[in-house]
């Protein structure tokens, strides 16, 4: 498929709104999931590190 020009590619034969509306939302959704996963991992590690630190402090104050 040779689109000839950038404008033709964006226009998608008059269906640009539909084609790009579908593709852009899909891309955004996938990127959002990836970012959510990265943040979740960081959050879990941070929260658990605080949890273990608090537990160690408790043990020390009991001892």
């Amino acid at each position: 498929m040779n689109w000839g020009s950038w404008q033709n590619f964006v226009a998608m034969g008059g269906y640009g709104l539909y084609v790009w509306g579908a593709y852009v939302v899909t891309l955004v959704a996938l990127i959002a999931e990836i970012l959510t996963l990265v943040m979740r991992r960081r959050g879990v590690i941070k929260r658990l590190a605080q949890y273990y630190a608090a537990r160690r402090r408790n043990h020390e104050s009991e001892a």
Binding site: G13, Y15, Y23, A29, E33, I45
Partner: protein, 252 residues
């Protein structure tokens, strides 16, 4: 001691969260890389090799994401139902964790299938949405995924949450054949399958190739995302174990 050594090398070795966690971490980047490569190749074929459709013009190019997303939405539900069932029957914690980790990605692909279907339906059928059998059952699939996640989140006791989620997931499996055969059972707006297991595909070879490669890319993406999520779930649920404490110590 000899017995524990032989156990180490059996398949069951990886059914423990502690041994699966590093395995998932080692596999995840490879599936992510495969996903990127396959999606890039699929998009290249979809936009620069596949010809314009004689009837639908360029609007048909939405199918390169729509079909793969719809397949994954159904397939991931079956996988989720399978691991839920295994967790329910064998009481294996890792199975339930995998089911939990699959749900958000499944819901995401269900949303993408619905959204892209809508953006394809408007120019080709003249409507964003219709209460046709295929679309309605796919919407129910989205509710099943969301219901599964909400139910698990609402129950504090992890074992009970797993069991309740598993029952919901298994009952919902009935919806998958309904989605798949809906276009055969009810002659409604959504067209029949262009690709099926029993007959030759009814589309140009390059279109089919682009669609299949994109579907494969989504599959690899789903595995990568699920592995990344199950690692988080394992850390959260196994936080009382020494190995997770050691792992967190290494990460901070």
């Amino acid at each position: 001691m000899a017995m524990s050594k032989s156990r180490r090398f059996s398949l069951y070795y990886f059914s423990s969260p502690q041994s699966f966690y590093p395995l998932a971490g080692a596999m995840q980047p490879w599936f992510a890389a495969l996903a990127v490569l396959l999606c890039a190749a699929g998009l290249y074929i979809g936009f620069f090799v596949a010809p314009t459709d004689a009837q639908q013009g360029e609007a048909y190019r939405i199918i390169f994401i729509h079909v793969g997303a719809a397949w994954m939405s159904m397939f991931l539900y079956l996988v989720m139902g399978f691991w839920s069932g295994v967790g329910l029957v064998l009481n294996t914690r890792l199975s339930s964790m995998v089911a939990t980790a699959l749900a958000p990605t499944g819901a995401l692909f269900t949303f993408i299938a619905l959204w892209t279907g809508s953006f394809w339906g408007k120019p080709t059928w003249g409507t964003w949405w219709a209460w046709d059998a295929r679309m309605t059952s796919e919407l129910i699939l989205l509710f099943l995924y969301v219901g599964f996640m909400a139910l698990q989140a609402a129950i504090d006791d992890q074992r009970r949450a797993d069991k309740a989620g598993a029952v919901l997931a298994l009952v919902g499996v009935i919806n998958i054949p309904i989605i798949y055969f809906s276009v055969k059972w009810w002659s409604t707006l959504h067209q029949g399958a262009s690709v099926s297991l029993t007959s030759a595909p009814t589309m140009a070879k390059t279109m089919l190739l682009g669609m299949l490669i994109m579907a494969l890319g989504f599959w690899m993406y789903s595995i990568a995302a699920t592995l990344a999520r199950v690692r988080c779930v394992i850390l959260e649920r196994e936080r009382h174990t020494e190995w997770v404490e050691a792992e967190i110590g290494r990460q901070t």
